[in-house]
């Protein structure tokens, strides 16, 4: 009996000693959050009445980072995202966009500094499988890079990225003001308590122009988020994007280091390889950049549904990213090795997918030797 117990104890001890094999194996088989990870879903759920009621109580890191990003870029001031509770109470209308005077839109606005996509709407409702004209903007390296950036970041982030640390910029919202979470004195029933909160917490009258600050202070959040969750691919992407946007070589090298850490933790996330390619191009290391873009393209094609249809695991952002990875590979191949090599590569990619209109167009233009492909003129656009 004692011998049996001894054997059982030894077996349990041996099992314990080798037990890390299982979590190590499992860490390579992560299960994603599906459509919940997309920017669109995060924006929609964070703008919902239910999310407003819950305040900052959120279930995942990406939502927390989303809120922190908004706050930091607005100098710490918490604006009410996309919801007007007064209108909701009066008319039952749940979601409202920022209020604008009648007739004011992109076509009538005369203010060149006014961005009409400022409320973070992303026009990602185009049909990737059928429309070729939608992809006319993907014929240059710079346009492809812009497309990837638009999928990854909000307009406010792109605007703030142009600022240096410590700089602020006033953004005139007099014709489209958004309420703050801490209400103005006229709307606040709490009297002295409300006054105290407005004095103690970052607050600014919502009728005044917004003050946007540089996003460098966000970097520790992305560092922390990726440390606590090494599978947070978006954290790596946006963190590297912020670093790259600092435009100094030191920061760009830091961005490269950060994205390479992301790749080590998520070797199959093709977007990370795509971002690595962009960073390497910014460092003028084109040969390595091409390798990264090709790696991104290979991984992305393997993950993409053959027909490219959107679903829980394949969003329009994924489609934009794979488009960028494939076309950038082809364009850089053409610029470095010539038209024939690019055509061979393009055909090889095409053979692995049922449909992919942007590549069809590029192949057609490459097949016409006498005519300069549309993309040629812009192919050497710097990022």
């Amino acid at each position: 009996m004692k011998a049996t117990a001894r054997v059982a104890s030894a077996a349990a001890l041996a099992l314990f000693l080798v037990s890390p094999i299982l979590p190590l194996q499992l860490s390579t088989q992560t299960v994603g959050g599906g459509r919940g990870d997309s920017v669109e879903a995060a924006e929609q759920r964070n703008a919902s009445a239910f999310a407003i009621i819950l305040g900052e109580f959120r279930t995942n890191v990406s939502d927390m980072i989303f809120i922190k990003t908004e706050r930091y870029l607005d100098s710490g001031i918490a604006y009410l995202p996309h919801i007007n509770t007064d209108a909701m109470a009066q008319s039952g209308e749940i979601e409202t966009r920022r209020r604008q005077p009648a007739g004011h839109d992109a076509t009538t606005c005369t203010d060149p500094s006014h961005h009409h996509d400022h409320d973070h709407d992303h026009d990602h409702d185009h049909d990737h499988a059928t429309s070729e004209t939608d992809h006319e903007s993907t014929d240059s390296v710079a346009a492809l890079q812009r497309q990837v950036e638009q999928g990854l970041t909000t307009a406010k982030m792109r605007e703030a990225a142009a600022l240096k640390p410590g700089e602020t910029t006033g953004h005139d919202h007099t014709h489209e003001f958004v309420d703050t979470i801490i209400r103005t004195a006229e709307k606040d029933f709490r009297g002295f308590i409300g006054h105290l909160e407005r004095r103690v917490k970052p607050w600014r009258d919502p009728r005044l122009p917004h003050r946007h600050t540089a996003g460098t202070e966000l970097l520790p959040w992305y560092r922390l988020a990726t440390m606590s969750n090494p599978q947070f691919v978006r954290g790596y992407l946006i963190g590297a994007w912020w670093l790259k946007k600092q435009r100094t070589e030191e920061q760009t090298l830091e961005a490269l280091k950060f994205i390479e850490e992301g790749i080590a933790n998520n070797p199959n996330a093709f977007q990370l390889h795509l971002m690595r390619g962009h960073i390497l191009r910014a460092l003028k290391r084109d040969a390595e950049a091409l390798q990264s873009f090709r790696r991104a393209a290979d991984l992305g094609i393997a993950q993409r549904p053959p027909d490219g249809k959107e679903g829980p695991t394949w969003t329009s952002y994924n489609e934009d990213d794979i488009t960028a990875a494939i076309l950038l590979s082809v364009f850089i191949e053409r610029d470095t090795k010539g038209r024939e090599a690019a055509l061979t590569l393009a055909r090889e990619y095409r053979s692995r997918m049922e449909t992919f209109p942007p590549l069809d167009r590029v192949i057609r233009s490459l097949e016409q030797p006498t005519q300069t492909p549309q993309g040629n003129a812009n192919a050497s656009d710097s990022p």
Binding site: P20, Q44, A47, S48, T59, M227, N265
Partner: protein, 269 residues
């Protein structure tokens, strides 16, 4: 013949004390307040979800957010119930001096521990069932979700209960009750964050592989959580991945239970 029967007990006779101990633990847990407090919290969510349904849900993403919140609360609360039930068993028996009469009966220490473990797991499963009625049934389902993914998520939760109960029983043998509960809560709900943090700190250094191996000894409960995969519309995980997760739970439960029995057999009560 009759002498042989007495010497070699029938298989069911060794399980009977386990079942009796488990039954007693379940009955005792029903009288506790914790479960009802958590059920009240779940009731608040239920009310919120119903109001949201009546007022109208703006878009499918918000519907999914509510569903995700409901299921996450189900999982967290039922894990908490399992943890509290298991962590309290031995310290309470020692404090009330009811362990001596129990062990004076023909019940071995191992059987006693197994009974308490089984009961803790059962209480967790029961809590999950009740919470699901409040958190999943009324929640809006406005997008496509795979039922099989939900089933996998629930099975993995039961596997997580097995690990939580075994770990709580083991640690309760040498850590004071309240401290044990706090530490266990940190491990159950934040272990993946701690592991990720440690691994990221060591990434790129000579210690990277060593740290990755050593952190493998910390139980990572995120491997048992498929709630976000379900609400994100992800297809069921493959057979290999699912089996590997179950095997992980089985290995951890076996190790912790074996260690608990070993420690309990050597401990003076």
């Amino acid at each position: 013949m009759s002498t042989d029967s007495a010497a070699i007990p029938a298989p069911e006779s060794s399980l009977r004390p386990v079942a009796l101990v488990a039954r007693a633990v379940v009955l005792e847990t029903v009288r506790r307040r914790e479960f009802y407090v958590l059920a009240i919290f779940m009731g608040i969510f239920l009310a919120g979800a119903l109001i949201a349904e009546i007022v109208g849900i703006e878009n499918p993403a918000t519907g999914t957010f509510i569903l995700d919140l409901g299921l996450s609360l189900c999982v967290v609360f039922s894990q908490l119930v399992t943890l509290l039930t298991a962590a309290r068993q031995i310290p309470d028996e020692l404090e009330a001096r009811t362990l001596h009469p129990l062990l004076a009966k023909p019940v071995s220490r191992g059987q006693c521990l197994m009974g308490k473990w089984l009961a803790s797991v059962f209480v967790g499963v029961f809590a999950l069932g009740v919470m699901l009625l409040m958190g999943w049934v009324p929640a809006p389902k406005m997008e496509r979700y795979y039922d099989l993914t939900l089933l996998q998520a629930l099975v993995l939760q039961v596997a997580a209960f097995c690990v939580i109960a075994a770990l709580a029983l083991l640690s309760s043998l040498f850590i004071p009750k309240m401290l044990n509960m706090v530490l266990l809560a940190i491990i159950v709900f934040k272990s993946s964050t701690i592991i990720g943090f440690l691994q990221a700190r060591a990434a790129g250094t000579a210690l990277e592989d060593v740290v990755r191996w050593l952190t493998g000894y910390i139980p990572d409960f995120s491997h048992f959580n498929l709630v976000q995969a379900y609400t994100g519309g992800v297809e069921p995980v493959g057979f290999e991945t699912f089996t590997l997760r179950l095997a992980y739970a089985a290995v951890l439960s076996t190790i912790y239970l074996a260690a608990a029995v070993w420690v309990f057999n050597r401990r003076t009560v």
